[in-house]
Symmetry: C4
Subunit: 165 residues, 4 copies
């Protein structure tokens, strides 16, 4: 377990980038230009457990391909796709839900996530993120994106909440 410089028991909403977080950052492209991504089956168990204790999850992605929405639908989580300004989208979500930045855990891996990571109380970088992202994170996952990173963050939030009950 890496060094955790934040208290995950305060997380009320988990917000995640998609590519590089739910996936290994690869996109499989076929000869018709159709896209496919590789996800981690066990992320679902983690997301279900934090849902049970009242922590909501939402994905904010700049990607326009419908593959993001399809995966989120299977996992039963909301998503905003084709998002060019993630921070504005995040602020709107926080406002609508009557939350404050300190209630939010944001998980990202690359430059377009920097704004959100700096804005929230619990910024998390997946292992192997861009250098700039690693610098602002209060926790870096031990598992890589698409190989258990989402599950790891869910388990940390779940266990932190359980401890404080």
């Amino acid at each position: 377990m890496g060094k955790i410089r934040t208290d995950f028991s305060g997380v009320k909403l988990l917000v995640l980038d998609f590519d590089g977080v739910f996936t290994d950052n690869r996109v499989y492209v076929d000869q018709d230009g159709r896209e496919m991504v590789s996800c981690w089956r066990s992320d679902g168990v983690g997301l279900s457990r934090i849902k049970e204790i009242g922590v909501k999850t939402i994905v904010i992605s700049s990607e326009v391909n419908p593959v993001v929405r399809k995966r989120c639908t299977k996992l039963g989580i909301d998503c905003i796709t084709g998002c060019k300004d993630k921070l504005s989208a995040l602020k709107k979500v926080i406002c609508e839900q009557g939350l404050s930045p300190r209630d939010i855990c944001f998980v990202g891996n690359d430059l377009p996530d920097l704004g959100c990571l700096k804005y929230v109380g619990h910024p998390v970088a997946v292992k192997d993120s861009a250098e700039e992202v690693l610098k602002v994170a209060k926790y870096t996952t031990q598992r890589e994106g698409g190989s258990g990173a989402v599950r790891e963050v869910c388990d940390l939030i779940y266990k932190a909440h359980k401890k404080t009950q």
Copy 2:
């Protein structure tokens, strides 16, 4: 070879979880939401060899996607899919076949497998399983799921049976 704390010559039925055992726990999702998994060609050779010596194989999976059934059909093994309570399903199988828990080798990797692993005589965890699963296993595979774990367990059962003949 890892430390083996069980005698595989007693195994009469091999029961396996699917995702993370037959696969590397990844699911490939395309832009229509269609799913694909990655399996290990050489698992088939191992499953055939234990079939020859009278050890049956069955898969119990919580996954609803038909990909599980398709792979099992190709391998010529039975499967129960969309299973929400694996232990109940396992008990029913054991009863129907006139066996007892000590005749069963169960191979799993995550929390939903815990009940079955604690119930059977020969609990096996694949490498890189959840911590809770590793704790209850009497053997942990050297190979990862989807990269030879199933073949490894089949070979152990095959060799143990051959030795006692």
Copy 3:
């Protein structure tokens, strides 16, 4: 960061091979002979940044399968595919754009790239290239093809240009 024996601030055009550079050199083949390749989502961010500072990008590939063109279209870059003589194609591109070989960064990984790599001012090999390719390169990427190699080269060019401004 590996040893850099070239000044990327002089690069006016980035020319890249496709397979093994944008991809991990694997091709996924299905039972109808259809092909798929695995690319790196974050290459797009790097290519966009060098476009902003006026560095153009073009792909020259010997592959005939349309998968190359499909990926380049998504990334918004030009490509020449089915190319049997990469050096001739490169010379034509350089001439048309009124450039000289010293303005070009070429990124390759295998024997068919050797002619281009020897011809340009900034020859780059991706990690794990053929031995002959590694010998002529002035920079070898730290990241592998299809896992950030293109992004790494883009970032080097971007930062070198920014420094000299």
Copy 4:
């Protein structure tokens, strides 16, 4: 380079298993049961070079799925698929081509390849083969199947032939 206990300049025919040699031994299965495998783009360059110097190539596979034939067609090499007795098939090929076992390099990875490996003059195992296969091989590749193993064997044959010219 691993220890080579055979003189590849004597090879007149290269015979290869498919799964685990041209591929990483994985099979991707979708929800309709359709199969896909992952191959190495650069194998083509190696196969072309040995063809130029008169060394023929043929694949012998027990797999029935058409994916084997599709890949071989793209590479321009012959294949025998759905083969239950590889040694009989190999003997027939050798006879038809007027060759002897000492002219043959066979590349395999698992138990069904053992008969052929023991029969030919130049038995090669890919890295990470079954133990029994590694024992009978006169050369074990440095690269894994589907990641350059075929290319490596082709390059060894090519260079050995060139040396003796």
